[in-house]
Amino acid sequence: MELTLWTYEGPPHVGALRIAASMEGVHYVLHAPQGDTYADLLFTMIERRDRRPPVTYTTFQARDLGGDTAELVKRSITEAVARFKPEALLVGESCTAELIQDQPGALAAGMDLGGVPMVSLDLPAYSKKENWGAAETFYQLVRVLLKDQLPAPGFTKPDPTRWRQEGRRPRVNLLGPSLLGFRCRDDVREITGLLADHGIEVNVVAPLGARPADLQRLPQADLNVCLYPEVAGPVCSWLERSFGMAVVRTVPIGVGATGDFLVELGEKLALELSLVGEADRRSRLPWYSRSVDSTYLTGKRVFIFADATHAIAAARIASQELGFTVVGLGTYSREQAREVRAAAQALGLEALISDDYLVVEKAMAEAAPELVLGTQMERHSAKRLGLPCAVISSPLHVQDVPARYSPQMGWEGANVIFDSWVHPLMMGLEEHLIGMFRHDFEFVDGHLSHLEGASGPAAAAPANGIASTAAGNHSRLADGPGTSQDTELVFTAGSVQAGGGQELGLNWSASGEAELSRIPFFVRGKVRRNTEAYARDRGVNTITEEVLYDAKAHFSR
């Protein structure tokens, strides 16, 4: 038994529902009580879908339990098949039905379904979760639909370069995009375009938008692109094992990864791709990141928590393409924990693998980041801690399904990422400043734009010379290189300040406190943190104004 307040993932049957709802012509009969119909709103409200997910719930009640719930299952199946005429039928149960052991899959197998392929789903509700359920459902569905095409043992693997002999373009499958995944709809469009630019055709996209008959065409592709390992990992491995299909596993999120993705594709397909300069031509991220304006991004402390795919991608972009410092990296996807651990280790961090948002929030507070990249759970934690945040992964909320085209993958995805990560860094500050301090003369709106130039904030600081100096130089006192422009962009929340000073044997004298209070509020937390670190290092117990100045001198070296 485990206490859960908010959860990252739903139960595994919600994963199955995501597959069914993503596809066309699939219907899911779910043996479940009425309350479980809440899952519909995930699609109709969060994804803003214009139709109900294709699911029939048996909605058995307590009074049915004594009687024949199996009969109810059979009736539901018969009615669903008659009404929806599915091209493939999924049959399964939710947590409660699992306990009463009607085995709906076995019941369905004994029924005449008029030849509709049926997949019996066995998703252990008490040990597995949503993403696992989605991956398992996708895998089982593909397996059932391809069972007649299974090559005999000892078959020769199809050659991914056979397109040449066959005198046609190479073609690939894009596997994994699904509803309630992060920006899948737009990623598919972006990657389809990217492939087209390089003369590669898309054979099947699945599950999003695919019909069962499309899944039966999967083996016609030269290889599979595993776009979202959370959903498509098992399918890709199975197709590799059973059909000998090659897999491209690089996930093209970020400029570097998109390049690597193309390289991997080119190698596996034996296709000459002229990639020189493509990133610079096709994406603005490389230039925007090199431009002087972006110097203020240097060393920004960023905390990342997401599904494994997006967490790993974000860590790479943050550290290699934007020059941030990753101060925390983690995931709730236990299935991919190994990959995330490796990515964290490469950055000198220990990965946080947890599905307890309070643990994540605590780690976030301790890491004292300047930007949080997370799920909608982290958005809330960040809001509480007063930190700017961009959502980069499911679980998502209705506002994370924007009307405009906003992929994460490919060249355009990199542009979207640049904008959506850099924007909150500025907005976080502006909103708070404008909102809370609009009456303070030193924080008039005009001073909030970093385009004001280096003299902006320093000149705007209070007449008090010391505070002004502190403001002007805080970036060094704070940490890492930077310009005085940082003043505007570093916003440290009250909660971070509250973290300091209480430790054993460390206290602030009245003069120290007074000096600290003259430092503009938005850098005060950092100054406090660094001064305390300095004092601890030197075994100083009482922080006076002199210690503060010593620390300042130390950090500006």
Partner: protein, 441 residues
């Protein structure tokens, strides 16, 4: 109301008594047959009511003993998650609990101990049963007793079922209140007991109006502080604020309360009748009632007028969801001039609904329970102008060209009382006004 106080005898606590002769509903003979449906229900389970109950009683914690599905339901129904640590959570049963490897009761004790340590402000802990806990027959009543003993003086532990196999959506509140009834102190003093969660502001307003009418002592169940349970006894006149409190009403009658029969306080007329019924139960002279309420009624009707203009003559279809459907239908028909196509309700408690039923036009088509696909077939055939439905159905129906109002909002919004009637009507007129405003291809 002609006979505001029901005889206690008419209300036995066992099951849903259907009075044979329904006063005021003589016309029921002409009523089209009730459609009773027993198919797929598109209704949340009783766990959902935690979303508003925990706001009402800030010193209480609601611990669902269930599965990941239960946790996900409450989270999805809550929609917003602005609380650092919400005052509700789920003790998720794992394989070890089910396989008997871990003693579920010991696990629960441990989890509750940790929880109470972390949340010292909690005074009442509700153990909320779910489908899984009921199917494995985890005895939460016993657990609550045991835990109450373990934490005597610190926290009161209660239990009730919010499971989907036993309850729908708003019935969770009925069960929660029912679990508190035995703890209510006994007192025979005269008091008006408002039963059912109201928005705080609305409650204050209604209380002050009752005082103006001359009712001295007014208390509420649930109280704002879970430890300050109102007393109950012979002098208690019980006035239901919500129509979904069948079990609680019967239990309070068993404890001596007099049931004040009335339509529910939705709309100007419904709210007036509701307050007048309470006044009559205290023997307050109708002239006093008129003097206090008539100006409000007058103002309320004025507030309704613009919405009535939008709503009058429009055809309304209510799918079963919050159990408020009959009252809403009565209000929208009687006061806003809408035509009722079909009025669905998750279940029909004829006793609690007698006054509402009597006010509905004789030809109203009622339906009880649900078979969602067939009901949607009827809906499509009838092409109503406005559909009241749950969140899962709203967007799909909009996409089919219907105008909808999702009903969950109704249990979160301050809609009770004469003063709120305009706002209540606005909830229904807005989607229609919006549809008229939009000039989209």
């Amino acid at each position: 109301m002609a006979q505001p106080v029901a005889s206690v005898a008419a209300l036995s606590s066992d099951g849903i008594a259907v009075p044979s002769a329904n006063p005021g509903a003589a016309s029921s003979l002409e009523r089209p047959d009730l459609i009773q449906q027993n198919g797929q229900r598109e209704v949340f389970c009783g766990l959902t009511s935690i979303v508003w109950l925990h706001r009402r009683m800030p010193d209480a914690f609601f611990l669902v003993v269930g599965s990941r599905t239960c946790a996900h339901l409450v989270q999805s129904a809550a929609g917003v998650m602005i609380f650092a640590e919400p005052r509700f959570g789920t003790a998720i049963l794992g394989e070890r609990d089910l396989a008997g490897l871990a003693d579920a009761n010991e696990e629960l004790d441990r989890l509750v101990r940790d929880l109470l340590e972390r949340r010292p402000e909690i005074r009442t802990l509700f153990l909320v049963g779910s489908c899984p806990s009921e199917v494995i027959k985890l005895d939460l009543a016993k657990a609550a007793e045991r835990l109450s003993r373990q934490h005597t003086g610190r926290v009161m532990v209660l239990n009730y079922s919010g499971s989907g196999i036993e309850t729908t959506f708003t019935q969770g509140e009925d069960n929660a209140l029912l679990s508190m009834v035995p703890l209510m102190p006994r007192s025979d003093e005269d008091q008006l007991l408002l039963v059912g969660t109201l928005a705080d502001g609305v409650e204050e307003r209604l209380t002050s109006l009752f005082q103006r009418l001359g009712i001295g002592l007014i208390r509420s169940l649930p109280p704002r502080s879970s430890t300050e349970l109102p007393p109950v006894g012979k002098g208690t006149r019980m006035l239901l604020c919500q129509p979904f409190l069948s079990g609680t009403a019967r239990a309070l009658v068993d404890r001596g309360a007099q049931f004040v029969r009335s339509p529910y306080p939705l709309g100007v007329e419904g709210s007036r009748a509701w307050m007048a019924a309470a006044a009559a139960a205290f023997g307050i002279d109708p002239a006093t009632v008129a003097a206090v309420l008539d100006p409000l009624v007058e103002r309320g009707r004025r507030a309704l007028a613009p919405h009535r203009e939008v709503l009058a003559g429009k055809r309304l279809f209510l799918l079963p969801d919050s159990q408020l459907e009959l009252s809403l239908a009565r209000f929208l028909q009687q006061e806003c001039g809408m035509e009722l196509v079909e009025v669905g309700t998750p279940y029909l408690d004829r006793l609690l609904m007698a006054e509402e039923l009597a006010l509905l036009p004789p030809a109203t088509q009622l339906s009880e329970g649900q078979d969602v696909e067939r009901q949607l077939d009827r809906l499509r055939a009838a092409r109503p102008d406005l559909v009241v439905c749950g969140m899962g159905l709203a967007n799909p129906l909009e996409a089919e060209g219907f105008v909808t109002k999702w009903s969950i909002e109704l249990v979160f919004s301050p809609i009770h009382g004469i003063d709120q009637a305009g706002d209540l009507a606005e909830l229904f007129s807005r989607p229609l006004r919006r549809r008229a405003l939009l000039q989209l291809p």
